[in-house]
């Protein structure tokens, strides 16, 4: 089943979730690596990839947000305790906020940079700069913001992954399963 139901996630939501998961984790690794490699040529190329992937993440996140608004939100697993439901909802909201704020802050950083380096997304089209102040101070502000948000995302994603593994390995419930198989397929398996 493509669409979500009250019982679980549909194929589209699952594909978007895992695609974004791979891209975001890869993007964080790329972001950490590109600033640390000694080879300046490689560093420049990695930064251009980081910018392109960041825009792809933003586009997919907007699609995911639209899909979520257009679909029923599956009810939490009945076995979850109240604090787990609260924590889960809070982490999900924060992750959504970060998935929006991180690419936008990166875009603002590129736009505020006094270097004025254009963004040629995957070598296909030029991304215009955001209307932010171009200055050393503006660039420093957006760099700090982007880095802070990235480290917050690392902590939240780590918590999200650990929580999913806890449900799978320790509690042996169906929380992780809901994001692995679409709702229609799981129902057929049970019957």
């Amino acid at each position: 089943m493509l669409r979500n139901t009250k019982d679980g996630y549909g194929l589209v939501a699952i594909v978007l979730h895992w695609t974004l998961a791979v891209l975001v984790i890869g993007q964080i690794g790329l972001g950490l690596a590109m600033l640390r490699v000694a080879d300046k040529r490689l560093s420049f190329d990695l930064i251009q990839w980081h910018k392109s992937i960041g825009l792809l993440i933003l586009a997919l996140f907007v699609l995911r947000l639209a899909w979520r608004l257009a679909n029923p939100q599956p009810a939490p697993e009945a076995s979850l305790k109240r604090w787990e439901k609260t924590a889960s909802a809070a982490v999900h909201r924060l992750l959504y906020a970060l998935l929006l704020a991180l690419p936008l802050s990166g875009w603002a950083l590129v736009s505020a940079s006094v270097l004025g380096i254009p963004t040629l997304v995957f070598g296909l089209f030029l991304l215009p700069h955001l209307p932010v102040e171009v200055s050393e101070a503006g660039e420093a502000f957006w760099r700090s913001t982007h880095h802070l948000l990235a480290f917050a995302a690392i902590l939240l994603i780590a918590g999200h992954i650990l929580a999913a593994l806890r449900h799978r390995i320790l509690l042996r419930d169906h929380v992780l399963q809901r994001m692995l198989r679409p709702v229609g397929a799981r129902k057929r398996e049970r019957t």
């Binding site: 080879d39 300046k40 040529r41 420049f44 251009q48 270097l115 380096i117 254009p118 040629l120």
Partner: protein, 191 residues
């Protein structure tokens, strides 16, 4: 009164830096050494939809020999020291000096040696020669105009386009053009 006018006229003549009328290459025959005063070795690399990288080389050396009997036997040798590249932006300078572009840690000089001169006008010529950078040598052609000449000094205006990828400096293409536009003023004194 006449004596005062003569003194003023003498001052005016001395104040004229170089010959006012259009100079001719034939008049400028002789051996010259490049001087930093009055010279400007500028280059620019256009960017796709963005600000071009504009810079110059501060340190260079060279000589120009123009035989009186045949302008087309003129010889030009110029050595540029790439660690002196200056764009007005420290981060861009450091990037240009890094292994991504000039690799000044290992490559200390860029040299041009003329191999042929073709006169195209009274004060203009095209100069062909071998340009060597980062261990690669290719034939390049520059347009030269004798802009000023007089009192043992000459200023040559030089324009040319060089494909940087041939010299192992293709970082950032196609975001930044493969073509480097040179627009240079070479001041020289007889020596």
């Amino acid at each position: 009164m006449l004596q005062r006018m003569a003194i003023i006229a003498a001052f005016l003549l001395l104040a004229l830096p170089l010959r006012a009328q259009a100079p001719s290459l034939a008049d400028a025959a002789g051996r010259y050494v490049l001087t930093p005063q009055g010279s400007r070795l500028s280059f620019s690399v256009p960017a796709a939809g963005g600000r071009a990288i504009r810079g110059r080389f501060v340190r260079f050396a060279g000589r120009i020999d123009i035989p009186a009997d045949n302008i087309e036997r003129a010889r030009v040798i110029i050595t540029i020291f790439p660690e002196s590249v200056a764009t007005g932006e420290r981060r861009v300078d450091n990037f240009l000096k890094s292994n991504a572009v000039f690799d000044v840690a290992h490559e200390h000089e860029i040299t041009f040696r003329s191999t042929a001169v073709h006169r195209t006008g009274a004060a203009t010529a095209t100069v062909e020669g071998s340009l060597t950078a980062r261990g690669h040598t290719f034939r390049e052609t520059f347009r030269v105009r004798l802009a000023e000449f007089g009192r043992g000094r000459a200023r040559f205006h030089v324009e040319g386009r060089v494909l940087r990828s041939r010299y192992g400096m293709d970082v950032g293409t196609p975001l930044y053009s493969n073509v480097v536009d040179f627009d240079m003023d070479l001041a020289a004194r007889r020596g």
